[in-house]
Amino acid sequence: MNEIVSDKSWILLERCPIQNEHDIVKARQVVRQFGKEAGMGIVDQTRITTAVSELFRNMFLYAGGGEVLVEKGIVDERNTLIVTCIDQGPGIANIELAMTDGYTSGGGMGYGLPGSKRLVDRFEIYSQVNKGTTIRVMKWK
């Protein structure tokens, strides 16, 4: 699993801290707003908002919070909305397992990561045990 690299040409739209449940609601509304501004259709807006909601919740539940970067840029010659979730939590020991449908470590239903991946165009994950996890999702316009 490679570290997640950013492109210098991307423009940072907003930086949202995730510390409590209200931050989750606020941050997903921010993502929807930028999706709308990027010209996404209503279904794609809902897809990206739902996908990031799953990720924000994971961050809050398993890592006690973290930070979210919302960026826009050109990826593979397409206008793209990029959302990166960074936490300093316990990390994920077995990413492959965490990405399996139905697997859960925290009493949920296990739709979080694999479900979120199905809703976006690109999904990157990097995790180090005891250091933290970075997950980046992208949605084309």
């Binding site: 449940e21 609601v25 509304q29 279904v43 809902t46 897809r47 799953e54 949920g108 694999p114 199905r118």
Partner: protein
């Protein structure tokens, strides 16, 4: 609990409870609503619950789970739950997420939801 936390109102009409979710719920609020509705079913002896989610722009796995959990819990208490007015984009996203909510009754609008409950009660 915060004092400025909004409570979602539950309205009782005849044998039914009517709930309209109009805010983007965080997880705790969703769980709180679940408890509130079950308590109201217990208190009033309502036979059916209509939950209108037509203004909800997003239902993720947690809220989906709370909604379908509520249906199962209410069923044990002898009350039927109908989820009303889900938006197409929300339905597509839920299916793609892998949450097909089997066993949860749904209706296009309040009127059809009410008819559905009435038919069910007449049969019973």
């Amino acid at each position: 609990m915060d004092f400025n936390e909004k409570r979602i109102p539950i309205i009782k009409i005849r044998d039914y409870l009517i709930v309209s979710i109009q805010v983007d719920m965080h997880d705790r609020l969703a769980l709180q609503l679940q408890t509130q509705i079950l308590e109201e079913i217990y208190r009033t002896g309502a036979k059916g619950v209509l939950i209108d989610i037509s203004t909800l722009e997003m239902v993720d796995s947690f809220i989906g789970r709370v909604l379908s959990g509520m249906a199962s819990m209410a069923a044990i208490m002898d009350a039927a739950v109908v989820i009303v007015g889900m938006q197409p984009a929300v339905a597509i996203t839920l299916v793609e997420l892998g949450l097909e909510m089997p066993g949860v009754d749904t209706a296009l609008n309040m009127e059809l939801g009410m008819e559905m409950l009435e038919k069910r009660l007449n049969k019973a």
